[in-house]
């Protein structure tokens, strides 16, 4: 069953159409990757799904209910959480407080918002700790976000998304700027999340995509040009053209 759908989703910035008539259907529980060359409109698509931008036309549906135009801060409460391509954390907060801020937002109750001490929200703190533990940062929960390494900040980025206890995770290049060793760790992490959440993944590194995805959608100049299983996508000639400018190399071999 599809949990997240778009119908003819379009976003134009003046003369530039960043996302052009995208119709997409994400199956519940699947890991669905979105690939495409730089500037293909992947991040803009995420910004539409998360309410950062309002689409020029088209619709977005969550559980079959229309959510088009819902502001970003409401989207999180509907069970959609995202990580950012550029690390986007709360630098002066401890790692635990980073996750806590996200966990509280979508927590069971805002009772005591102005008065109750933060430490006394044990359930929220528990969720925040669980999220840090899911990404392997438990031992550093009291360090400040600005003091940890880039690789760890990427993990924290993911933990903030997880702390919201979402149903759908939108991950925008979680391995951006990581070393091969860190990338391997991140892939293992994402693979570990598979099945627990519906995941929509934007990624450039083709080996990651091919090994973890259930389905792949390919974007080019704002439009979807192909969709299928990893094998189907690897065989698709149009995808090769878009990606490789006609160079006849096996897709899997390029990124490896």
């Amino acid at each position: 069953m599809a949990i997240l759908q778009t119908e003819n989703l379009t976003k134009a910035f003046g003369a530039l159409t960043a996302v052009n008539g995208v119709t997409l259907s994400i199956e519940a529980g699947s890991l669905h990757s979105i690939i495409g060359p730089n500037g293909a409109g992947k991040t803009t698509l995420f910004n539409l799904l998360t309410g950062t931008f309002v689409p020029t036309s088209g619709r977005i549906l969550l559980d079959g209910k229309e959510i088009t135009g819902t502001p970003a801060h409401r989207i999180a409460h509907l069970g959609l959480a995202r990580s950012f391509q550029r690390t986007n954390v709360f630098p002066a907060f401890s790692l635990l407080d980073n996750a806590w801020a996200a966990a509280f937002a979508t927590g069971p109750s805002w009772k005591g918002l102005l008065w109750k001490k933060t430490q006394r929200y044990t359930e929220v703190t528990g969720r925040a700790r669980q999220a840090l533990s899911d990404v392997g940062l438990s031992s550093k929960e009291n360090q400040l976000a600005r003091e940890i390494s880039h690789g760890e900040q990427r993990q924290l980025e993911l933990a903030i998304a997880l702390a919201a206890a979402p149903r759908v995770l939108l991950l925008d290049e979680p391995a951006a700027g990581l070393s091969p060793e860190e990338t391997r760790k991140m892939v293992a992490l994402v693979r570990g999340l598979k099945g627990r959440y519906t995941i929509v993944l934007i990624e450039h590194k083709m080996d990651i995509i091919m090994s973890v995805s259930d389905r792949i959608s390919v974007m080019h100049f704002g439009a979807l040009i192909a969709e299928g299983t990893p094998e189907e996508i690897q065989r698709n000639p149009e995808v090769r053209r878009a990606y490789l400018g006609g160079v006849p190399t096996a897709l899997g071999g390029v990124a490896a």
Binding site: T50, H73, I75, F90, A92, K117
Partner: protein, 308 residues
């Protein structure tokens, strides 16, 4: 946990022995004013240059009712807090939709709106002459006209304000506001309505300013036009920054320094705003980071001198 609370209580007890009661009282009033600003400036990262809007509006309204309708002290305080919060809601609503320099300019421009209304509405506010004759009515048989009694009253209110603000900044709201200061985009993405929270910070800060305004009016028996002017807005920003906007207690230190500074320069020379301006410039150019940093630098210098 720390020595700050005992230190503050000690200061409350000892201060009237050292300085005139009126000055001691003014210090705590200004500290309440600063606490309210710092929720915006230090915790939310919003530089409001219009805090005297709330301070002055509350002072005028409560002062008017004290003077003409003989309301009691607690009613005056309640009304002042309400007027402060309500005016902050109005101003905040227009300001939180913009950010950066636009935001600062708007807080100032709306401050000017309130100022010019007070300036021209002379039948009520007295315009440039201020609104004199504000009483300090007795309550429960306590004569607040006695400077020491009033000092005790104000300092107790200050301690309550400090406690309330401490609870607010240690609550989820405090953390959310800091999250907004740290990263507005992410705060929005994890599910906080950022403008709404900024507005809430405005209203709480406005309530504190309003209370300070009423206490100020009762202290001096007059609401001077300056109480709603940019001068007061600037002063409280200066005091908060000099004390250090990074901590809950910064505005308290700042209030001490500012009241001491303005009291001493104002007796020195009729053109004392000039000296104040010079102080602002010197602090900005040489002592950014506030008193705490200046103090530690002084110690470094002292200890290096002793070694040689």
């Amino acid at each position: 946990m720390n020595l700050k609370i005992p230190a503050i209580v000690a200061a409350v007890v000892l201060l009237p022995l050292v300085v005139r009661h009126a000055i001691a009282t003014e210090i705590w009033i200004f500290a309440i004013f600063g606490l309210g600003l710092n929720l915006l400036l230090g915790y939310t990262g919003l530089l409001s240059f219009g805090q005297s809007t709330f301070f002055g509006s509350a002072a005028y309204v409560a002062g008017f009712l004290l003077k003409h309708y003989a309301i009691n002290v607690f009613a005056a305080l309640g009304i002042g807090i309400g007027v402060g919060a309500a005016s902050a809601l109005l101003v905040g609503y227009l300001c939180v939709q913009r950010s950066g320099i636009y935001f600062i300019m708007l807080t100032f421009a709306l401050n000017q709106l309130f100022y010019f209304i007070a300036y021209q509405w002379t039948t009520v506010t007295g315009g440039e002459d201020g609104m004199p004759g504000i009483p300090r009515p007795a309550m429960f048989g306590i004569d607040f006209r006695d400077p020491l009694n009033y000092y005790i009253f104000v300092s107790v209110l200050f301690l309550i304000s400090l406690w309330v603000m401490k609870r607010v900044v240690e609550s989820p709201l405090g953390r959310i506001l800091q999250a907004i200061r740290e990263n507005e985009v992410r705060a929005e993405a994890v599910g906080y309505n950022v403008p709404r929270f900024k507005l809430l910070a405005f209203v709480i800060g406005g309530a504190f300013s309003g209370m300070a305004g009423v206490l100020y009016a009762m202290l001096f028996g007059i609401v001077p036009l300056e109480a709603i002017s940019f001068v007061f807005s600037g002063n409280v920003v200066f005091a908060t920054l000099i004390g250090g906007s990074g901590s809950l207690y910064g505005p308290i230190i700042g209030s001490f320094v500012f009241i001491w500074l303005s009291e001493s320069v104002s007796t020195m020379w009729a053109r004392w705003p000039l000296l104040l301006g010079v102080a602002f410039v010197i602090v900005v150019l040489f002592f950014r980071g506030g008193v705490v940093e200046a103090w530690s630098r002084f110690w470094l210098w002292q200890s290096s001198r002793q070694k040689t």
